[in-house]
C-alpha cells in the first residue's frame, strides 16, 4: 500500500502544486511515438561500429586500418589519431583519452577505433578487420591491488593530491579527501561501546534500459547537429567540443527522449566519435551501443573498501567516528570518494571524527555518477555499524538514530550548518507506521537504515511564451527523465492561475533556450523549476502592466488572480490571459520572458527506510516481504512522480544489496556483461514499495522543493544487511548479499 498523504490536502492554498496531472508527454510514451536516441533516422545516414580493447591494460603498438577502409560500404574509419592530442586540465585530458584510447588501453572495452558504413553488418565487419598490435601490461583490478607497494601503474605521472608532504613518486591513488573534527582519541576513550568492521562493495551499473545512442550530421561548412539521449545536452555539447577541439558553439545538440540515466548519462562516450565519423564520411552517422558495450565501457559506480569504527556512550550518543575509505575510480581519476566522505556521517551529530577518502585508479571502466554518487557505500558501512551498536546497547534502531540525528542549526561533518531539514520527521514516520510493528516469523528479519544526500542547485534557464490563444509554452533545457515536464507545468499553472493542461512544457535544444546544467543531483524541479517560476513571474508582471495601460490606471491598481488581471477596486471587467494575448499588438507586442539563475537555497534530503525479509536457511536466498521508505521531499509538486523516485531508488538499492556486481576473470575481462548474468531486480523479486512522502518545506525554494531523485538509493544496502543479521544472526560486511554469501555465513556460523 502506498500511504503517501496527498500534499494537496496538506498544503492548502495551492491549486496545482501537489496534484497528479497526466504527464504532458504521456500520450507519446504509451503509443510508441516518443523518439529516443536510437530512434533518430536521417536521410543518407550511415551506421557506425566501435572497436574496443580486449585487454584490461595494454600498450597500443600499432593500428592498421588499411584493410577495413577498403571494405564494401565503408565510408570512414577513425582512431585516436583523428582527434587533437590530449590537452588542457587533467580532467579534460582524461575525458579525451576515455572517449578514444591513445597510447594505452586502460580497461577492457576502451575504444580503439570506429567505423561508419552503409549497413550495420558492414561496419561491424570492417571494425573487426582493423589490425591492432597490443603489448599486454599487468593490470590492477581492486583498490588493494592498486594501492599495494610496487603495483603496476595506470598513469606514469599520477601524483596523489591531498597528502602532506606531497608524494615524490607516482601511484594509483589520485587523491585523498579528509574531513575531521574534535579529538578522535578522546572520543574513543570516552566511548562505552565501540563497533568496527571492514566493508566491501562491488561495482554496480546504473542499468538504464536504453543503451547510449548518438546521431551526428556534419555539414561541409562545419556546422554540426548532434542528437543524443543524455541527462544534459548542454553538457554533451561542451564535453564533445573538448574532445573535438572545437568551440562549443559549433555544435547544436538536440535532446532525444532519454531512457533512464541515474547519473550514467552525464558524460560523453559516442558523441565525439559520431561527429568525427560524420565529418570524415560527409554523411550523417548513427552509433548505438549494445548492452554488452554499455556494461563494459560505461558507468559503473565504484567498488569500495571501507574500514569503519564508531564509538557510543551507554545512552546511545555517538561520540567518535573513524572511516578509511578507498573508492575505485576506474581507469581515470574521479571516483566519488569525496562525496562518500562528506555524506558518511552527515546525518549525525558526532563531535569527534576522522574521515579519509581515497580515489584509486584501477583497470576498469571509468566510473560515472550513480544516484547520490558515493553515498550508498559509505552509508552501508556506517549504518551497519550503528545497527550493531544498537544491538549491543539494547536500543531500538530508530531510537539510536533519533538520539544522534542532525536538526536545523547542527553543523554537518562536512562543514556547513543545516537549515531546516526533515531527518527526524522521516525517523518518526517510520517508527509510527504500522509496518514497523508487524510481528516477524522464523528466519525473518527487520532492518532499518537512514541516508543523506546534499542535492544540487547549479545553472538553469527557462523561457516562457504566451501564445496568441492565451495558452503558455514553457521551454527549459532540462531533459525529462522521470516526469519533470509535469512538474514544470504544475508550477507554471500555479503561477499563472490557469489549468495545467493549458501549459505546454518543452525541452528545447541548445539553440532554443539558455544554458542548463544536467538533469542530475536531484536538481531539476528545484533549480529549473525556480527558473520557470521566475520567468512566469516576469510575464505576469508584464501582463499586469499591459492591463494597467489598457485601463489607464497605475500598476498598483492591477493584481493577477486566477489567470486574469483584476482591478483592485473591481471598477474594470477582468482581463484574462487570452484577452491580453489577443490585444498584444496594442500593448507592446508578444508576451515572453526568460529567466536564468544559479540556484541557491538547495535543500538537503534525508530518507529512512525499513525492510522486512525472510532468509531461506537452506539456500541463502532472500525474499523481501515488505519495504517502507520515508523521505523528506520538501514539497511534492507531482506526488506520483515523487513516489516513483522513492520507489525506484529503493529498488536499485535492493539490486545493489542483493544481486548486482561486476564479475571479472583473471585477465580483467568482465564475465557478466548482460542482463541474464548481471541481474537487476525484476517484478517477481519484489513486493510493493510503500512510501511516506514527508514534507518539511525547503526555505530556499518558492514552493519548498528539495529534490527527491537520489537519496532513496542510500539506505537499502545497510537496511538489507541489518535485516539479514536480524533474521539469521549473521553480520555480513560484503555486498552483494547473494545466496552463496549468505549460505556461507550461515554454514560457517562459528568460524
Amino acid at each position: 500500500m502506498t500511504i503517501a498523504e496527498d500534499p494537496a490536502t496538506t498544503s492548502p492554498g495551492y491549486k496545482w502544486v501537489g496534484t497528479r496531472m497526466i504527464r504532458p508527454d504521456g500520450f507519446e510514451k504509451v503509443t510508441g511515438r516518443a523518439r529516443f536516441g536510437a530512434d533518430i533516422k536521417l536521410n543518407g545516414m550511415l551506421y557506425g561500429h566501435v572497436l574496443r580493447s580486449p585487454h584490461a591494460h595494454a600498450k597500443i603498438v600499432s593500428i592498421d586500418t588499411s584493410e577495413a577502409e577498403k571494405m564494401a560500404g565503408v565510408r570512414a574509419v577513425i582512431t585516436g589519431a583523428d582527434f587533437p592530442d590530449p590537452s588542457g586540465p587533467a580532467g579534460d585530458q582524461d575525458l579525451q583519452r576515455n572517449v578514444i584510447a591513445r597510447e594505452k588501453a586502460l580497461y577492457e572495452g576502451h575504444v580503439i577505433a570506429a567505423v561508419a558504413a552503409q549497413t550495420r553488418a558492414q561496419a561491424k565487419a570492417a571494425a573487426e578487420a582493423i589490425k591492432v598490435v597490443y603489448e599486454v601490461l599487468p593490470h590492477v583490478m581492486t583498490v588493494d591491488e592498486a594501492m599495494a607497494p610496487g603495483a603496476p601503474l595506470l598513469h606514469p605521472k599520477l601524483m596523489t593530491k591531498g597528502v602532506d608532504p606531497a608524494p615524490t613518486e607516482p601511484s594509483n591513488v589520485a587523491s585523498r579527501a579528509v574531513y575531521q573534527g574534535g579529538d578522535l582519541d578522546l572520543g574513543f576513550a570516552e566511548s562505552d561501546v565501540v563497533v568496527e568492521g571492514t566493508f566491501t562493495t562491488k561495482p554496480v551499473h546504473q542499468g538504464y534500459i536504453e543503451p547510449h545512442a548518438a546521431v551526428a550530421d556534419t555539414t561541409p561548412n562545419g556546422r554540426t547537429t548532434l542528437w543524443c539521449s543524455s541527462q544534459g545536452h548542454f553538457t554533451m555539447r561542451s564535453l564533445s567540443a573538448k574532445v573535438l577541439g572545437w568551440e562549443p558553439s559549433k555544435l547544436k545538440v538536440i535532446p532525444a527522449e532519454i531512457g533512464g540515466g541515474f547519473g550514467g548519462k552525464t558524460t560523453i562516450y559516442l558523441e565525439p566519435l559520431a561527429v568525427r565519423l560524420s565529418q570524415k564520411a560527409g554523411r550523417p552517422v548513427k552509433l548505438v551501443m549494445s548492452r554488452d558495450e554499455v556494461f563494459r565501457a560505461t558507468g559503473p559506480a565504484s567498488g569500495t573498501k571501507i574500514v569503519g569504527k564508531l564509538g557510543f556512550k551507554n545512552d546511545g550518543t555517538m561520540v567518535a567516528g573513524e572511516l578509511w575509505m578507498a573508492y575505485e575510480a576506474g581507469a581515470f581519476a574521479g571516483s566519488p570518494a569525496g562525496a562518500g566522505s562528506m555524506t558518511a556521517l552527515a546525518p549525525y551529530t558526532v563531535p569527534n571524527f576522522l574521515i579519509e577518502g581515497f580515489d584509486v585508479v584501477v583497470n576498469k571502466p571509468k566510473v560515472a555518477a550513480y544516484r547520490a554518487p558515493g553515498a550508498p557505500m559509505s552509508s552501508f558501512a556506517v549504518e551497519s555499524l550503528i545497527d550493531e551498536a544498537a544491538k549491543k546497547l539494547g536500543m531500538d534502531p530508530i531510537d539510536i538514530r533519533l538520539k544522534n540525528a542532525v536538526t536545523e542549526g547542527c553543523q554537518a561533518t562536512y562543514g556547513p550548518k543545516f537549515p531546516r531539514i526533515g531527518f527526524v520527521e522521516t525517523l518518526e514516520a517510520i517508527k509510527n507506521h504500522p509496518n514497523y510493528k508487524i510481528p516477524l516469523g522464523p528466519n525473518q528479519g527487520r532492518g532499518v537504515a537512514s541516508g543523506f544526500w546534499f542535492n544540487a542547485g547549479l545553472n538553469s534557464s527557462a523561457t516562457v511564451h504566451v501564445n496568441e490563444d492565451g495558452n503558455v509554452i514553457v521551454v527549459t533545457g532540462s531533459p525529462d527523465i522521470g516526469g519533470s515536464r509535469a512538474s514544470m507545468a504544475l508550477m507554471a499553472a500555479e503561477e499563472f492561475g490557469i489549468d495545467a493542461a493549458r501549459i505546454q512544457p518543452v525541452v528545447g535544444d541548445t539553440e532554443s533556450v539558455g544554458y542548463n546544467d544536467q538533469t542530475g543531483g536531484s536538481r531539476t524541479t528545484l533549480a529549473t523549476g525556480a527558473a520557470v517560476i521566475e520567468a512566469c513571474r516576469k510575464v505576469i508582471a508584464d501582463l499586469r502592466g499591459r492591463a494597467a495601460k489598457q485601463w489607464d490606471v497605475s500598476l498598483d491598481k492591477v493584481e493577477w488572480v486566477d489567470g486574469q488581471a483584476q482591478h483592485v477596486e473591481g471598477t474594470q471587467p477582468p482581463l484574462s490571459l487570452a484577452d491580453l494575448a489577443k490585444g498584444w499588438n496594442r500593448t507592446g507586442g508578444p508576451l515572453t520572458a526568460s529567466a536564468a539563475l544559479n540556484a541557491r537555497g538547495v535543500g538537503s534530503a534525508f530518507s529512512t527506510q525499513v525492510v522486512d525479509l525472510e532468509v531461506d536457511p537452506d539456500t541463502g536466498h532472500v525474499t523481501v516481504l515488505r519495504y517502507l521508505t520515508a523521505q523528506d521531499a520538501g514539497r511534492a509538486i507531482h506526488p506520483s512522480y515523487v513516489e516513483g523516485q522513492l520507489q525506484g531508488g529503493v529498488v536499485q538499492g535492493l539490486g545493489w544489496a542483493l544481486n548486482e556486481e561486476y564479475i571479472f576473470d583473471r585477465n580483467g575481462k568482465m564475465e557478466n556483461p548482460g542482463f541474464l548474468d548481471y541481474r537487476i531486480p525484476v517484478a517477481s523479486d519484489l513486493p510493493m514499495i510503500d512510501t511516506i512522502v514527508v514534507e518539511v518545506p525547503n526555505p530556499g525554494h518558492p514552493y519548498g522543493v528539495r529534490g527527491v531523485g537520489e537519496v532513496g538509493i542510500v539506505p537499502p544496502l545497510a537496511a538489507v544487511a541489518n535485516a539479514v543479521d536480524d533474521a539469521v544472526s549473521r553480520r555480513i560486511h560484503d555486498l552483494p548479499l547473494s545466496p552463496v554469501r549468505i549460505l556461507d555465513a550461515i554454514i560457517n556460523k562459528d568460524s
Binding site: T2, R20, I22, R23, D25, G26, F27, K29, V30, T31, G32, R33, A34, R35, F36, A38, D39, K41, R120, A121, Q206, G207, Y208, I209, E210, P211, E257, I258, G259, G260, G261, F262, V288, S290, R291, I481, G482, G483, H638, S640, Y641, E643, G644, Q645, Q647, G648, V650, V651, Q652, G674, F675, L676, I680, P681, V682, A683, S684, L686, M688, I689
Partner: protein
C-alpha cells in the same frame, strides 16, 4: 547476400519488406517499417523492451529472424490504441504514473496486453511473474503492477 521478401500483417496493415536471412525482426521493424516504438534494451531476450505479439503470442522481436515473420500477424505498441483512443492499459499507465523515462513502457504494455488476454483477473503475484521478463530500472515496478491491476478491473467491468 540476396535478400528475402517477407509478407505479413503488422498492426492491421498488410506489409511486404526485404530483409537479410540473418536480420533480426526487431531491426527490421524499426529500420524498414519505422516502428521505433519497439525498443532494444539488450538484443539478447533479457529485457522485454522489444516485446511484440506474433499471432497473439508474446515474443521478443530481438530473438526472431525477420524471415520468420512470413505470414504472421504482428502487433506492436503502435498498434494497441485505436487512433487517439487509448486502451485501458495505456490509460491506466498514464493515470497511475507507471512510467518514468518510458523506454520500457512499450514492452510492458504489449506484455500486459498478452497477460490480460489470457488471464483477465490476475493476482498481484501473477502480474509480477507475467511481467518478470520485462525490465524497468526506473519505477521499482510498484506503479506498473498497480496500473495493470486497475486496467484489468476496468476491462472486466466493461465486458460484464
Amino acid at each position: 547476400m540476396s535478400r528475402i521478401q517477407v509478407s505479413c500483417t503488422v498492426n492491421g496493415d498488410p506489409v511486404d519488406f526485404l530483409c537479410d536471412a540473418d536480420g533480426s525482426l526487431l531491426n527490421t521493424l524499426r529500420d524498414e517499417l519505422g516502428l521505433t516504438g519497439i525498443k532494444e534494451g539488450c538484443g539478447t531476450g533479457d529485457c522485454g523492451a522489444c516485446s511484440i505479439l506474433m499471432d497473439d503470442q508474446l515474443h521478443c522481436a530481438c530473438l526472431i529472424f525477420a524471415p520468420e515473420a512470413t505470414g504472421t500477424t504482428i502487433t506492436t505498441v503502435e498498434g494497441l490504441a485505436d487512433g487517439d483512443h487509448l486502451t485501458p492499459l495505456q490509460e491506466c499507465f498514464l493515470e497511475g504514473a507507471a512510467l518514468q523515462c518510458g523506454i520500457c513502457t512499450p514492452g510492458f504494455l504489449v506484455a500486459a496486453t498478452a497477460l490480460l488476454k489470457h488471464n483477465p483477473n490476475p493476482t498481484e503475484t501473477e502480474i509480477r511473474y507475467a511481467l518478470a521478463g520485462n525490465l524497468c530500472r526506473c519505477t521499482g515496478y510498484d506503479k506498473i503492477v498497480r496500473a495493470v491491476r486497475e486496467a484489468a478491473a476496468q476491462m472486466r467491468e466493461a465486458s460484464a
